[in-house]
């Protein structure tokens, strides 16, 4: 199979971006999860941020 070049990348379906640039693909990923999984993902991300902040604190 031929490797996709820059032209193909440029032709990505722009409908993946909403009218106000809300990322539809990311929203679809989240909608595929249960509420519990969504909460755990948000919590996990926030805890990573907190760890990075603590590591870099003065």
């Amino acid at each position: 199979m031929a490797e996709a070049g820059p032209d193909a990348e440029d032709a990505l379906d722009t409908s993946e971006w909403g009218l106000e640039w809300g990322d539809v693909s990311l929203i679809r990923q989240k909608l595929a999860l249960t509420p519990t999984e969504r909460l755990q993902a948000a919590q996990g991300l926030q805890n990573k941020v907190l760890r990075i902040r603590a590591r870099n604190a003065g």
């Binding site: 539809v24 929203i27 948000a42």
Partner: protein
């Protein structure tokens, strides 16, 4: 301090607090990709509920986020009289409000909320349409930047429903 949003909700529920999750966590539970640092909650302002809420906050070792570093604890009297409580807890930041948007309190929001299952918990959250409305009404920069994602999410949910 670790963010344990689920545990904060579990403690409030265990103490039989009447509350509605609003803001970022309510949106995340319904599919929003925008992250948040706190749990925003609107609570019923009654003597009994504020007493239960104060007990739950005691279990969460809550204190006001005071820039001066003073340790001030929420109590039932403060919860009854003050409108906003920005709290640090053992589960991370928890913000309690008597109202959101255009002065919409627990009673007004109840009909625009729904129960969601989070593990063994049943938690009442504000519906996405109402979250968008309250953020439009609040109109702070942090609300404005979330709105395109929330509107897109609502459009996607409606599209999937209509398929």
């Amino acid at each position: 301090m670790q963010a344990r949003f689920d545990e904060a909700l579990r403690v409030l529920t265990r103490h039989e607090v009447e509350f509605i999750v609003v803001g970022g966590i309510a949106a995340i539970l319904q599919g929003s990709p925008v992250t948040t640092e706190d749990v925003d909650v609107v609570y019923r302002v009654s003597d009994e509920n504020c007493r239960r809420l104060a007990e739950a906050l005691d279990e969460l070792d809550a204190s006001y986020a005071d820039p001066g570093g003073r340790i001030v604890r929420p109590d039932a009297e403060r919860l009854t009289s003050s409108r906003v409580h920005l709290l640090n807890t053992t589960c991370g930041r928890v913000d309690l409000m008597r109202t959101v948007g255009h002065d919409l309190g627990y009673t007004e929001l109840l009909g625009r909320s729904k129960e969601l299952e989070i593990e063994e918990l049943s938690v009442r959250v504000l519906e996405l349409e109402a979250i968008i409305e309250t953020k439009e009404q609040a109109d702070r920069p942090k609300d404005r930047y979330q709105l395109p994602f929330l509107r897109q999410l609502l459009a996607e949910i409606r599209r999937l429903r209509d398929e």
